[in-house]
Amino acid sequence: MIYLSAALYMEASPFIKAYECTKNAAFTHMQVFTSEEAVIVITGTGPVQAAISLTEVLTALPPSETDIFANVGTCGCPDQSAEIGETYIINKITADAEARDYYPDLLYLHSFPEASLTTVSHLQTEPTEHSRMLYDMEAAGLFQAALRFFSTDRMFFFKTVSDFGENGTSVGPTFVFELMTGALLGITEALRSFHGSGTRRITYSESEETVIQQFLDLLYLSETMRHEMRRLLLYYELERGYAIGMIQDFIHTEEIGEGMSNQPNSKKEGKIYFERFKDQCLR
């Protein structure tokens, strides 16, 4: 799943369409759009507001270990040599209010220019004094909120330049929509390539999980020994082969189970089988 946030509806609109999202009625005081592929949150403006909205959605719809988060939106750029409509991927976010820096890990190949971004808490009408190239109003808050749910390599911030932060510049909704439509393809392609490329852990299917649970119950294992057994199964899976097959063979050859000749009746008896199973795993 891709979790995507934008401050304004017009920034998110091209993505809502691209990911075929529909409005999620479970959220009544903010706009959230969902599909099988994406969850899109319209956070509102300002770092605190953005962080609160994102946290609420991530708590209600918790991401898995392989899901990714992206923030998309427009930004100002005091450097007039930048091009309006150019999209940057952010390698450093400075929270202006806290004088703190946050760093998303950029581990994947991508084709965007990179930039640092300063998050300010109110709209800038003058070019900032910062040497940094870009500024927005949400990223620092979003980074902090997302960090509870995503590792630093699964967070991406894309900012599309909308203005040079000059006095009196106003960026209308239609223009924002046009800019984000222009940015859409590059961002969605990048996200598709990032998604699922991170580290994967061994997981068991529902039926495999049932076999493991029954085995643990059968052996009367204490909570600590259940953990130990799970680690042992993982060891076997990584070193030797199919752990579920090993369990099934063991149950069969030791003839343990209901109606079989051997049925452990206490933790003490279960421990004996545990040790025997361990020996076989290490053999």
Binding site: L107, T199, Y235, L238
Partner: protein
Amino acid sequence: MNDLKTSVFANQFSHIYVEKGVMEHPRTAQVLRRFSNSTVVECSSYKDIFCRSHQEPSTQRQSRSLILAQGNAAIYPGAKVCQSMGNEHFYYTSCVMNCIYDCEYCYLQGMYRSAHMVMFVDLSETFRELDKLLAIHPVYLCISYDTDLLAIEPLTGYLAEWCEYLATRPNCTVEVRTKCASAKTILSLPKLSNMIFAFTLSPQEVISRYEHSTPSLKLRLEAVDKTVSDERKVRLCFDPMLALSDFETVYRAFFNEVFETVSGEDLFDVSVGVFRISKDYLKNMREARECSITYYPYTLTNGVYHYDEETEQRLFSIARDELSKHLPSDKIFFWTEC
């Protein structure tokens, strides 16, 4: 599958974070020249990147970043699970945190929450601290525990700087532990009697399976041979020995192969250790990476996980049998206590 995965990752050191305070340091310039295509990001403190919460070292390893920092590489008394090799005043220091190699059993995965690499560019404070210690007693110092300094020498020049320092401090003996096979780099350094090159050797089966990106046994042995031929002090480290299936056959063949290339007489000494790891580190390592070494059902004694007594003794006795054919017992050091 792996190839497919690798292709989506940026190059190693595609990003170099530089603390503001060391932007102008000559070592920074040297590194940045070498990686002129990398993106340079200025930072206030290396900790803002290296010590962030919620990092994913397994993914970071695919595209490590480099962090250049001011920090001081402090000098610490040697840890309990390390070998002092009979030296009374045993210390270690790390001017680099993390390593370009990727050994699945490496304790650094338990020590740091990041796989990115930090280089403290300035050694002068470390040298000052060391001088204070040397004024009190001789020092035996390991400088390449939390990294592999030889492997990054062409990039950093740290060993050359250490040599310059050591040339006038005969009461300071330094061990440079390495899996690197670049004899060329070693031979380019001044020859010092107080610098020991400690090559960690493992059976090729272990190298192929667990010591990712490291040179083969054959190349390491060639480097050992060239280093001893140049009359430098060489230690061989057979550590960690692992309880692979069929370890008896694997390790006996391995020791044979080693001593077909190297003569025991040419060695300064050898050290032997069986895999062991502190409880806290193992917990972190299990979180950081799924691998069979970390998930092995070890025995816990005094806060250290290790193989059961019988397995440990079998591994030690193979080493003892094989090594005693080539070296006197006072040149063989075993790590034995927990």
